[in-house]
Symmetry: C2
């Protein structure tokens, strides 16, 4: 994309209510624009980040056999009355009446709807396990929306739901999701540590929150370094084998990790000092086994091997997709701007033409740009070099390809890596190779 053509409105000043770095940077870099309290429009660069995150989630959910559906944003109150949650849910639920006076609501979550869809489709234990997910906008009428997309009202979430014939099956589904989540966060380029979370009346140990480590996180976190040293992507796990899943799961649960709410000083003391990690975290995911809570309350049964009907066991698994954009920035920025992990960056690199209309500079820039116009942002404005440097740092492209008149004459460009500040003087070919390999 050529910056002179792009709808890429960077801002010099940001509203005073933007208190945290990600909120300020998302407004300044032109990723989002607020359209109402806690409601945002995604501008092209922001949408590209959102789509990159979605795609990684999709690939890793598909990889464990989960299947994508898309449920609507509006739900009938009737459905929620069946589970008993319609009256129990607080003022965060946006309640709506249609022109006929029928009660609707803007879905804050989808347990009821997916359970209903499942129940009208699946009749036999032979069709289990099933895991279904969707990526859809949800609404939570926060009393005081703040922190930009981190605590907005209309937000994008991936929520998955598993259905199993037995508790043992549900445990395997839960562990598959744990693996999928660890792989998702690793691919997103953030450190996200799973922490045991409340299970409420269900009990057991099958509830984990995932927290992205960032100094501005809402919770203090304490964990064993072993949890951030794993390479979940290369770890071989046979997702169809309960034992393989159990072995994998033990590598998570064998190591201490807790938020301040759950922190246990006695257990913490057992972690070797050199392996203790403390910090703050932002919750970006939650996985949760809740048994037959919804299948029982909504009367959903399938027939077992003996023909007798039973209520399938369920779990739900959420990732805050739009929240992640903010969380990644909280985890990865400096005073100059955003530092995107390559996997989610809106563009692979920015091309900075330091002397627009100089024949040699334009020729090199055009040549580089032509190799991948969709994924390169070409700053072809007639602006001073300083303005281009600042905007590229602000937008956080992983690489800046800097084309100046002196280097251009020799066919050289300067490559700057945003995360490290490292600079390399390279031929065009070598620069392109280095970016491709990044």
């Amino acid at each position: 994309m050529r910056l002179t053509k792009a709808f890429q409105p960077t801002l010099k000043e940001v509203p005073a209510e933007a208190q945290i770095a990600s909120h300020r940077l998302m407004l300044r870099a032109g990723l989002v624009r607020q359209t109402a309290s806690g409601i945002y429009a995604w501008l092209p660069a922001g949408l590209r980040v959102l789509r990159n995150i979605e795609q990684i989630i999709r690939e890793e959910q598909d990889a464990i056999g989960a299947q994508e559906v898309l449920m609507p944003t509006l739900q009938s109150a009737e459905l929620w009355r069946r589970s008993g949650r319609y009256d129990a849910y607080g003022p965060e639920m946006l309640r709506i009446q249609d022109r006929h006076g029928r009660d609707l609501l803007y879905g804050p979550t989808n347990e009821e709807m997916i359970t209903d869809i499942f129940g009208s489709s699946v009749k036999s234990y032979k069709e289990l396990p099933k895991a279904l997910y969707h990526i859809q906008w949800k609404f939570r009428d926060e009393v005081r929306p703040r922190f930009g997309v981190m605590r907005g009202r209309e937000f994008l979430m991936k929520d998955a739901y598993s259905f199993d014939a037995s508790y043992e099956g549900a445990v395997a589904s839960y562990r598959r999701m744990m693996l999928s989540y660890l792989r998702i966060f690793q691919r997103l380029g953030v450190r996200a540590v799973p922490m045991v979370a409340d299970t409420g009346p269900i009990g057991g140990d099958l509830s984990h929150e995932f927290l992205v480590l960032a100094p501005t996180g809402e919770s203090a976190v304490f964990f064993d370094a072993a949890l951030e040293e794993q390479d979940w992507l290369s770890r071989p796990v046979d997702c169809d084998d309960a034992e393989s899943l159990a072995t994998f799961f033990a590598t998570v649960t064998d190591h201490y990790a807790a938020t301040d709410e759950k922190h246990d000083e006695a257990e913490w003391a057992k972690v070797p000092a050199e392996r203790k990690r403390e910090g703050r975290g932002i919750e970006v995911g939650h996985i949760f086994y809740f048994g037959t809570k919804y299948t029982a309350s909504m009367g959903i049964e399938v027939s077992g091997p003996d023909g007798a009907p039973f209520h399938p066991h369920m779990g739900s698994y959420g990732v805050g997709v739009s929240r992640l954009v903010g969380a990644i920035i909280e985890a990865s920025h400096d005073d100059a701007g955003i530092i995107w992990p390559a996997s989610v960056a809106p563009y692979r690199a920015a091309i900075l033409n330091l002397r627009q209309d100089d024949e040699a500079c334009d020729a090199i820039c055009d040549r580089i740009y032509g190799t991948d116009p969709e994924n390169l942002l070409y700053d072809d404005r007639s602006e001073r070099a300083g303005v281009k440097f600042n905007d590229a740092d602000l937008m956080g492209h992983p690489w800046q390809i800097i084309v100046g008149p002196r280097g251009a004459k020799e066919g050289k460009v300067e490559l700057k890596q945003r995360a490290t500040g490292e600079r390399f003087e390279l031929s065009v070919e070598d620069a392109l190779a280095k970016i491709g390999a990044a």
Copy 2:
């Protein structure tokens, strides 16, 4: 995807209120499930079709320089009060109050919001033209939702908006969109003919509806065959050149096309008899120039070459994405089921294993399936051949790869083309080549 693992609930019986073919077939083939009146959940196969349509639209919109954004589903009433439409809009608008009693609405369209975003971002004529689009769920509180996704309440739409410095610029933007739309519909595998539509108080000839030809269409249509004989994809048009755009546009407007509402017998009489085409059509798109209606009413100005502020000229350009799924089926089905155009089909082909657990059949099926598991649907159920044939016809895969024990022994499969019913006995390699080339 293996059918034994897929969430692919075909239905034997459909509700009596499903009156039209697409509604019945979408329910029977397990593409959607109704969750409330006029509101549908998209099951995996249906979602794949929706995504394929989206992707074609996206590519063709990007190709003319339009840029994708994503505006939220909920909008503040305040925004609509600025344009004067809040009170003017009828009961189709879903009006909502949040917990603080502030008026929101579920967006039925986005002229106000995009104009506001544009106005707060673009300051100079030098940044024009701009075209922005998004693909988002919208809501229209139909008094009597019917025909499935064809007239649902929550529906997916692509809406684009153009901003130009002059009427002449707006005309060029309009013509680019016309080209983009013709290419979109051609790639979707449907015949969609542009018909002059009402312009209301704006006047002029810059309003066209696109109707997909289908016997169940809501409007009678009359048009010159020249309009369906064009290959818009191979036609060279320079979108940066007003003259090239004008020449292209004339090939559309020089030929008669009208719905019954606009039909002009005198003009129709001038079309040579052998070129007259009559039929029925389903509206799936509408492009419209409306001048400074919103920029003026909302007070949005940018500065011109002389420094004087002016109101940019706008157009809006909609495609009913979810409606298209129904429209394509209306245009392309038979008594046995759906006949998907290859470009939007949920899967490239179905593999029908006629003797599950036969060593030779399983081996050949596994081998074919392994070439592209994501885009092939493998019917690996232990069902009779007749059931598999019926379900494959119902689901409408462009190709069926039929693997029976006799052919399997010789390494042969039977390939059936859904649209024509043609059958070919081929080696596995030749069958795969034929599908890839389709």
